[in-house]
C-alpha cells in the first residue's frame, strides 16, 4: 500500500476493484465503513455483487477481465471534461501524451459495450474520483489474477497520476495483501530476480555485496524461475524442490499438472506444520513450528513490520523454520548459526536499505514500524511517493484492453472465477482444523445465478459436476444473485473441492501471475 490502513477512513472517495474487502480483509472493511460514515463515496468494481458492493454508492458490475477498458474509460472522461490535475501531470510524470492518445478511444459508450457498465455511471464515477480531495484506490487479486494483471495495475496507476491522487495522505494505490507475510516474503528476497528490498540479482554490485556478507565467492547471476515456471521445468531442468510452508497442490492453477510435476522430481522435501496435500507427495517431511511457537516479524500490507512472539514451546519435535534451514545448511558444509531471530534480523537489516533502521529492540519499544525506515532514528514512512516517486518521475503506461485467454464457448459456456471465503484462509490447511471455523462453514459450494440454475434445472444444494479443459470437480450449487448469468464462483479453500484442477495456468507475461479469475467451464447436474 502506498498509504496506511488508518488513512482509508479519511478518504472522501474510495474506488475498489477486484477486492471482496469485507470478507477477505474484514478489519480493513471496518476502515471503509468508517469512511462511509464520515460521508465518503464508495465505488466498487466487481463482476460479483459482494457485501462491499452492496454498501457502495456505485457498483460497476463489469464483465470479468474488462478492467483496463473501464479504467481507461474513467481516464477518458476525466481528460475530456478537463478534470485532470495538469500541474501534477506536468511536474511529476512522463509519457502522458502516449497515454492520452490510447485512452481517447475508450469513450464511455465504447467502454459500456466492453464492460457492460452504463456510460452514465462511468461518467459519474470518473467525476467523483477526479474531484475528490482525498481519493484512495483499493485492489486485490480480482485485479491482478488476469493474463493482463500487470497492465491492469498500470491502468490503476495511470488513473491516480492523472488526478494527482498519489503521494499524499489518504490518496494512493493500495493493494491489500492476502497473506500475513506475503509483503515480508517479497521484501526478504523470496523472489527469483531479487535479493532483499528488491535489489536485482542481475546487478554485479549487488551480487558482490551479498557474496561478501554471506562469505561465498560468487552468487548465481541469472534471475531464477517463478513458482509456475519451476513446476513447468520439474523433471526437466529442475530435479529437486524444497518447499517451506506452501501448498501448491491446492493453491496453484491446473492442479493435475502440479501433482505430475512434483511426482517427476528426483527429490522433494516439504517443511510444514501439517501433512498437506503437497507434503503427502514429498520424500522427506520436516515438522515446523507454528506462529505461536516462535519469535520473529511479519510485514503487513501497509509495510508495517511487527513482532511475532513465542507463546508456547514447539509441538512435539517440531522446530522453527529458521532452525531447520540452519541445520540443513550446516549439514551441507555451510555453517549457519544464530542465537536468536533478532540476530538474523540484524544481519538482514544491514543488507536491506528500507529495513536498515528497524530492529527487534525498536519494535519491542516503539511497536510496529513502516518501511522505508533507513536509520535507527527514522520514524518509518506512513505513505509513499510524497514529492517524488521512487523512480523519479511517475510513468504513464498506455495499456489496451486484452480479453481473458480462455473465453466461454459452446462446449464450456460459463466463466468460472475463484476467490476466498470469510471463514477460511488460503488452502484451508489451518482453518479446517480449528474446531470452530470449519464447524460453522463446513462445505464449499458453487455460486450460480437464478437464471442459469433455472435453465439447467438446478436446485440449491444439488451436486454439480464442473469441468474445464483441464479437470473436473464436484460441488454443491448455491443459487444467488451475487453472480450474474454466465458467471459462476467458488473458492480454492476446500480440499474436497480442488477447484484449481480447473483453473487456467496461463500467466501474465510480466508478473507471471496466473489467470485464476477467468476460465471457461461447463456444468452438469449429478444429483
Amino acid at each position: 500500500m502506498t498509504n496506511s490502513i488508518a488513512e482509508i477512513a479519511d478518504a472522501d472517495f474510495i474506488l475498489t476493484t477486484g477486492t471482496n474487502t469485507t470478507e477477505g480483509h474484514p478489519v480493513i472493511g471496518i476502515q471503509v465503513k468508517k469512511a462511509l460514515r464520515n460521508g465518503a463515496t464508495l465505488a466498487v468494481i466487481d463482476p460479483r455483487r459482494t457485501e462491499i458492493a452492496e454498501l457502495a454508492h456505485y457498483h460497476l458490475q463489469i464483465k470479468s477481465g474488462t478492467d483496463i477498458a473501464l479504467l481507461n474509460g474513467l481516464a477518458n472522461v476525466i481528460i475530456n471534461e478537463g478534470l485532470w490535475n495538469k500541474e501534477f501531470v506536468q511536474e511529476r510524470t512522463e509519457d502522458f501524451e502516449a497515454f492520452k492518445e490510447v485512452v481517447a478511444k475508450y469513450t464511455p459508450e465504447y467502454v459500456e459495450e466492453i464492460t457492460g457498465v452504463p456510460a452514465d455511471t462511468i461518467k459519474e464515477v470518473a467525476r467523483g474520483y477526479a474531484k475528490a480531495k482525498k481519493a484512495s484506490i483499493l485492489y486485490t487479486m480480482g485485479l491482478t489474477q488476469h493474463v493482463c494483471g500487470t497492465h491492469n495495475v498500470f491502468a490503476v496507476a495511470n488513473l491516480t497520476m492523472l488526478c494527482g491522487h498519489i503521494g499524499k495522505e489518504s490518496s494512493g494505490v493500495n493493494p491489500l495483501r492476502g497473506q500475513n507475510n506475503v509483503q515480508g516474503a517479497c521484501d526478504m528476497g523470496a523472489l527469483p530476480a531479487f535479493y532483499t528490498a528488491y535489489q536485482p540479482v542481475a546487478n554485479e554490485a549487488n551480487r558482490a555485496k551479498f557474496a561478501a556478507a554471506w562469505g561465498v565467492e560468487e552468487l548465481p547471476s541469472k534471475p531464477g524461475l517463478t513458482v509456475g515456471e519451476i513446476f513447468d521445468q520439474a523433471g526437466k531442468t529442475i530435479k529437486a524442490i524444497y518447499i517451506m510452508g506452501e501448498n501448491p497442490v491446492l493453491s496453484d492453477p491446473d492442479a493435475n499438472h502440479v501433482i505430475h510435476a512434483l511426482e517427476s522430481l528426483d527429490f522433494l522435501v516439504v517443511q510444514d506444520i501439517f501433512l498437506t496435500e503437497t507434503a503427502q507427495l514429498a520424500d522427506v517431511v520436516l515438522p515446523a513450528a507454528s506462529f505461536a511457537e516462535k519469535d520473529g516479524t511479519f510485514s503487513n500490507t501497509e509495510r508495517r513490520v511487527q513482532l511475532v512472539r513465542k507463546a508456547i514451546e514447539p509441538i512435539g519435535q517440531a522446530k522453527p523454520d529458521c532452525e531447520i534451514i540452519c541445520l540443513i545448511a550446516t549439514a551441507m558444509g555451510y555453517p549457519m548459526r544464530y542465537n536468536s531471530p533478532a540476530e538474523i534480523f540484524d544481519e538482514m537489516a544491514k543488507l536491506t536499505p528500507s529495513y536498515a533502521g528497524i530492529s527487534h529492540k525498536r519494535l519491542e519499544q516503539e511497536g510496529g514500524l513502516q518501511w522505508p525506515c533507513p536509520t535507527p532514528d527514522h520514524p518509518g514512512t506512513k505513505f509513499l511517493h510524497a514529492g517524488k516517486f521512487a523512480r523519479g518521475l511517475g510513468k504513464f503506461h498506455a495499456v489496451e484492453h486484452i480479453p481473458p485467454a480462455e473465453m466461454p464457448d459452446e462446449e464450456y459456456p460459463f466463466v468460472l472465477s475463484t476467490g476466498r471465503r470469510r471463514y477460511h484462509y488460503h488452502t484451508g490447511t489451518m482453518t479446517h482444523r480449528t474446531g470452530a471455523l470449519e464447524v460453522f462453514y463446513p462445505t464449499e459450494f458453487l455460486e450460480i445465478s437464478c437464471e442459469d440454475a433455472e435453465k439447467l434445472g438446478i436446485c440449491d444444494g444439488d451436486i454439480l459436476r464442473v469441468s474445464s479443459r483441464r479437470g473436473t470437480v464436484e460441488v454443491a450449487a448455491k443459487i444467488t444473485d451475487r453472480v450474474v448469468p454466465g458467471l459462476v464462483f467458488t473458492s480454492f479453500q476446500y480440499p474436497d473441492v480442488p477447484i484449481n484442477k480447473l483453473t487456467n495456468p496461463v500467466r501474465c507475461p510480466i508478473a507471471k501471475i496466473p489467470e485464476y479469475k477467468v476460465c471457461a467451464v461447463k456444468i452438469e447436474k449429478v444429483s
Binding site: I5, P26, V27, I30, L176, R177, G178, Q179, N180, V182, G184, G189, P192, P220, K222, G224, L225, T226, I230, K239, A240, I241, Y242, I243, M244, G245, E246, F267, L275, D283, V284, P287, T297, F298, N300, T301, L307, R309, A311, I312, E313, G316, Q317, A318, D321, I324, C326, L327, I328, M332, M336, I344, F345, G368, Y423, T434, A436, V439, F440, P514
Partner: protein, 354 residues
C-alpha cells in the same frame, strides 16, 4: 486551544474545552466506574454507574456525558455518590445470576469488580429474574442474556465499528433484551447479518458474551497473555494469545497498531489449529511409498545428501525453492540466503501471486 479548569476531589485539573468530567478525572488518575462508556463508541450516558456530585446540579450527573466547565467543582466519591452507585449495583445484582463460581468472566467482570469494591451483595432487592435460554448454537460465541446488564456496548460496537448492525434493544422495561433482528440467534446469519468478528465479546463488561472455546479452559488470573501478530491475512492485526500450562487456550483483544481491539472471525476464533492432533510432530521419510517416522539427524542428513547430490550432478540451478508468505521475515531471509549462497540457485519464489 481553549481550556477549562475545574476541581475534582480537591485537585485542580486543566483540560481542553469539550472534555467530559470522566475524561478529566481519568487524566489525573481519579477512578470513576463505568459500564456503558467506551472511548471509541458514542456516549449514551445510560448506565449511571459513573454518577458524580456537582454542587448546584439538580441531580447526580453521569460523568461520561457531562462536559467539564470553567470553575466546576466535582466530587467523585461523596456519600451521595457512593450511595447512588451502591443502589445501582444492588438493582443490577437483583436480576443477575449468582454464577461467579463457574462464570468465565470471573476475575475480569466489571459487575463483580464494582460489587466487591463497594461491598454490595445481591440480596438487597428480591423479585422476578430473567430466565432466558443460553444461546450456544454457534461454535464461536455464547450469549447468556441472563447476565446482560443492558449497557449496550455490543449494540454500539456492531453499529459504529463493525458496521453490521446485528444487535439492538428489543422489548421494554423488565423485558428489554439485546437481540438480533426478529429475536433470532446470531447463527441465523441471513437475518442476523452476524459475521462472528467477536468484537461484541471484546467490549462486553460482564459474562453475557463469552468466547465459547475458552469456557472452562482457564481462569483469567491463570492465563499468560502474549501479544503477537495474526497469522491469517495481510492486515497485521495484533492480539493476545492466552496461554495456560503451555497451551494456547484462546485469543483476546490487545491494543494493536492497526486494529486496536478489533479482529475478524479468523483472528479471534481460528487458533485451534495450533494444538490440532494432525500437527506434524516428527520428521517423516518416505520408504516404499509410505511415511516412516525419523529422527532429526537422519532427516537432515538425508535432505543435505539429496540436495547436495542434485547440486553436484546438475548444478544448483536444478533446485527450486518455495519460501513462504506464512513464515517470518527472518525465515524468508534465511531461505533466500540458503537458496542462493548454499544451493546456488535463484529459483526461489513463493505464493505472492496466488
Amino acid at each position: 486551544m481553549t481550556t477549562v479548569t475545574l476541581t475534582i476531589d480537591g485537585i485542580q485539573v486543566t483540560v481542553p474545552k469539550g472534555t467530559t468530567v470522566l475524561e478529566a478525572a481519568e487524566s489525573v488518575g481519579i477512578f470513576i466506574p463505568t459500564f456503558c462508556h467506551d472511548p471509541e463508541l458514542s456516549k449514551p450516558g445510560a448506565c449511571r454507574i459513573c454518577v458524580v456530585e456537582i454542587p448546584g446540579a439538580r441531580n447526580l450527573p453521569a460523568a461520561c456525558v457531562t462536559e467539564a466547565t470553567e470553575g466546576m467543582v466535582v466530587y467523585t466519591a461523596s456519600e451521595a455518590v457512593i450511595e447512588a452507585r451502591k443502589t445501582n449495583l444492588e438493582l443490577l445484582l437483583a436480576n443477575h445470576p449468582e454464577d461467579c463460581l463457574t462464570c468465565h468472566k470471573n476475575g475480569d467482570c466489571r459487575l463483580q469488580e464494582y460489587a466487591y469494591f463497594y461491598g454490595v451483595k445481591a440480596e438487597a432487592f428480591s423479585g422476578e429474574k430473567h430466565d432466558y435460554p443460553v444461546e450456544e448454537d454457534n461454535p464461536f460465541i455464547v450469549r447468556d442474556m441472563n447476565k446482560c446488564i443492558l449497557c449496550g456496548k455490543c449494540v454500539r460496537v456492531c453499529q459504529e465499528i463493525q458496521g453490521n448492525n446485528v444487535l439492538d434493544f428489543a422489548f421494554r422495561g423488565f423485558s428489554a433484551v439485546v437481540t438480533p433482528a426478529m429475536n433470532t440467534t446470531l447463527s441465523d446469519t441471513d437475518i442476523s447479518n452476524c459475521v462472528f468478528c467477536g468484537n461484541c465479546v471484546a467490549v462486553c463488561p460482564v459474562g453475557a458474551l463469552t468466547e465459547k472455546a475458552m469456557i472452562g479452559k482457564g481462569r483469567q488470573w491463570e492465563v499468560k497473555k502474549v501479544k503477537t501478530t495474526c497469522p491469517y491475512c495481510g492486515v497485521g492485526c495484533q492480539f493476545n494469545l492466552n496461554v495456560k500450562d503451555g497451551r494456547v487456550i484462546g485469543v483476546t483483544s490487545a491494543d494493536g497498531d492497526v486494529n486496536g481491539r478489533f479482529l475478524c472471525v479468523k483472528g479471534r476464533f481460528g487458533y485451534g489449529f495450533i494444538h490440532h492432533p494432525d500437527r506434524l510432530t516428527t520428521p517423516l521419510i518416505k520408504k516404499d511409498g509410505k511415511f516412516v517416522e525419523a529422527s532429526w539427524d537422519e532427516a537432515i542428513a538425508l535432505v543435505a545428501e539429496k540436495l547436495g547430490a542434485v547440486k553436484e550432478q546438475y548444478g544448483g540451478e536444478a533446485i527450486g525453492v518455495l519460501s513462504s508468505a506464512r513464515c517470518t521475515n527472518e525465515e524468508n531471509y534465511l531461505m533466500n540466503k540458503f537458496a542462493r549462497a548454499v544451493l546456488g540457485t535463484n529459483s526461489i519464489d513463493h505464493c505472492a501471486r496466488l
